[in-house]
Symmetry: C2
Subunit: 327 residues, 2 copies
C-alpha cells in the first residue's frame, strides 16, 4: 500500500469533529494534528489526536499533505484559507455564494505564490449540488432547474425564534413543499421563488406563563424571516426539544426538467437526506482532500473548485478498479 | 465567439438521430456530416445534414473535431471505435459492462497511436449512474448502494415476448419496486438481487383467436427472462399498443445509504425520468463530445471515461461563469 495521506484539521467545531470521524473511515488517510485558536491543552478527543495552536501550523510544513479547513464562511475562512494556502494544500467549504468569485481569486493568488493547491467551496451546496446543476444543464441546455433545501435546521431562523419574547428555546426547520416537488417531477416547469418552494416549521418551548398565541403571532408575522412563508409553530416541552430536535439533519434536491428533440421531457434529479449536515459535509471535504493531494503531486497549483476535478480523483481506487467495478 | 466545434455522427439509428437533435440545441457545436453503412443518398433529414458512406470518413480528417459514435455495443462499437479513434477524437456509449476493461485497452492503444482522444462508455448507465456510484462511495465509504432501472422498455424482454406462439406484438417494461425504494430511502440496507428490485410488466397483442391464458402462462414461466420475476401480462389491442407504447421511456435511480460517525445515516440519491432513452443518451454524448475536443486541444490523448473528466469541461460556459452562476 502507498504511503498514507497526512491530513491536518483547522478548527474543531462540529465540522472539524466530523472530519476527524470521516478520516477514521478512510484507511488511506491519517490525521496528523488538529489546529485550533483555543488553548490546545484544554481540548481532547477520544481518538487521541494531537492538538496544536493554530500559530504552530507553519512548523508542520512538509509533514502535512493537506489542511482541511473547518472554520465558518463569515469570518474564519476569508482570513484563514489565503494564509494557510501559502504553505499547505487546502480544502474548505466556503459557502457564501455571492462572494465565491472574489474568494477564488484571493486563494488562487496565495496558492500560486505558495506552489500549493486549494479546492474551495466543497461540501454539498456549494459542492455536490453545484456539480449536479452543471451536469444537468450541460446535458439538457433547454430546461429549468430547481434547488430545494431541507428538511433541515436553519440556524439563522432558529436564532430569530429565540429572540421572540416569551420563547425559552426553539428550532426552525426549512421544509421543501412536497406538492411543488411532485409537480416538477411530473414534468411541469413553474416559475418559483424560494418561498414558493419551502415551508417553515418551528418547534418552540415557551417560558412558563407566556402567551402562546402571542408568540405564534410574533413568529409568523416576523418580516424577512417568516411573514412571506407558510409558517407553522408547534409548542413543545423542553424535554421534547432535547429528545427530538438535537440533531442537525439537512438535505434537499436539485431537479432539472429539460426538453430534447421535439418536446420530449427529461428529468434529472439529485437528492440528499442527511441525519447530520456537518458529518456529511466533513465526508465530502475528506474525499476532496484526497483529490487535492493527488492533483498537487501531479504539479497542479492554484485554486480549484469541484468543477475542475475529475471524480476519479475522489476515490482511493485505481482507474482500473473504477472502470471494472463502478463504470 | 470562439470557432464552433465540428462534429460528425457515425450511425443513424435512434441514437444518431438523437445526437442530430441534441447538436441543434447547442450553439457552440455544428454537425458536419453523418456517416452510415447504408447508401448515403437514400437517407434524408429535415435538418439538411450531409450523409456520407462510412468509408469516406477518412477524407474528413482535419475537418471534424470529434466523431460521435452511435452504433450498438454488441458488434458496431467494438469494431468501429478502435478504427475511427486512429484518425478522430471519439465519444461513444459502449455499455457492455463486463467488456469495458478490454474495450478501454483496445481504444486506448488506437487513440495513443493516432494522437487522438476517445471517451468511452458515456450515456447514463454506464455514464451518469457510474459517476454517482463513484461519488457516493468516495464520500460514504461505509455504505451500500443500489441501482434501479426503469420504468423503461427492455428490448431483449420485448423480443422474448414476441417469440411466444400466439403473440402478435408486445412490449415489456422493467419497473423498479416502489416499496423497496421506499425502504432504502428510509434508511434500510437490505441485501437485494436485481429480481428483488424489479417487476416485469408486459403489454401484449394476441393473434386473433389465440388462447390468452396460455400466452400468459408461457410468458410468466419463461426461464431467465420472466420466471423468477413478479411478472404481469396485460392484453391490449393493436391500436392501444400504437397509441400508448411507441415511446422509449427509461430511467432509474442510484441510491447509496451510508453511515458517518457513530451510526449517522446519510442517503445520496440520483435519479432519471426519461421520456426518450436514446434522445437523453444522445444529449450526454454531445456534452462529452465538447469535453473531448477541449481535452484534446490541451494535448491529452488515449482513452478516458467519465471518471477522468472534470465536469466543467462539459459546459459551454467559462470557469468564471460556472463559479459565478452554478457553484
Amino acid at each position: 500500500m502507498a504511503q498514507k495521506i497526512k491530513a491536518g484539521i483547522v478548527g474543531y467545531g462540529n465540522l472539524g469533529k466530523g472530519v476527524e470521524k470521516a478520516i477514521a473511515q478512510n484507511s488511506d488517510i491519517e490525521l496528523v494534528a488538529v489546529f485550533t485558536r483555543r488553548q490546545p491543552d484544554q481540548l481532547q478527543s477520544a481518538s487521541g489526536v494531537r492538538f496544536e495552536h493554530i500559530s504552530a501550523a507553519e512548523q508542520y510544513k512538509g509533514k502535512i499533505d493537506v489542511m482541511i479547513l473547518c472554520g465558518g464562511s463569515a469570518t474564519d475562512l476569508p482570513e484563514q484559507t489565503p494564509v494557510i494556502a501559502k504553505t499547505f494544500n487546502t480544502v474548505d467549504s466556503f459557502d457564501t455564494h455571492a462572494k465565491i468569485p472574489e474568494f477564488f481569486e484571493t486563494v488562487n493568488a496565495a496558492a500560486k505564490q505558495g506552489g500549493t493547491l486549494s479546492v474551495i467551496s466543497t461540501g454539498w451546496d456549494p459542492g455536490l449540488f453545484s456539480l449536479n446543476r452543471l451536469l444537468a444543464e450541460a446535458i439538457l441546455p433547454q430546461g429549468k432547474d430547481y434547488t430545494f433545501w431541507g428538511k433541515g435546521v436553519s440556524q439563522g431562523h432558529s436564532d430569530a425564534i429565540r429572540r421572540v419574547p416569551g420563547v425559552k428555546a426553539g428550532v426552525q426547520y426549512t421544509v421543501p413543499v412536497q406538492s411543488v416537488i411532485d409537480r416538477i417531477r411530473n414534468g411541469e416547469t413553474p416559475d418559483l421563488t424560494t418561498r414558493d418552494k419551502h415551508l417553515r416549521e418551528c418547534f418552540v418551548v415557551a417560558e412558563e406563563g407566556a402567551d402562546k398565541e402571542q408568540i405564534r403571532q410574533a413568529i409568523v408575522s416576523m418580516p424577512n424571516y417568516f411573514s412571506d412563508y407558510d409558517t407553522t409553530v408547534h409548542f413543545i416541552s423542553e424535554a421534547e426539544l432535547k429528545a427530538d430536535h438535537q440533531g442537525m439533519p439537512h438535505g434537499g434536491f436539485v431537479i432539472r426538467s429539460g426538453i430534447t428533440g421535439e418536446g420530449t421531457k427529461q428529468i434529472v434529479e439529485f437528492g440528499l437526506k442527511l441525519e447530520s449536515n456537518p458529518e456529511f459535509t466533513a465526508s465530502v471535504l475528506v474525499a476532496y482532500a484526497r483529490a487535492v493531494v493527488r492533483l498537487s503531486s501531479e504539479g497542479q497549483t492554484g485554486a480549484k473548485t469541484v468543477f475542475d476535478i475529475p471524480l476519479g480523483y475522489l476515490s482511493p481506487k485505481s482507474p482500473e478498479e473504477l472502470r471494472r467495478e463502478l463504470l
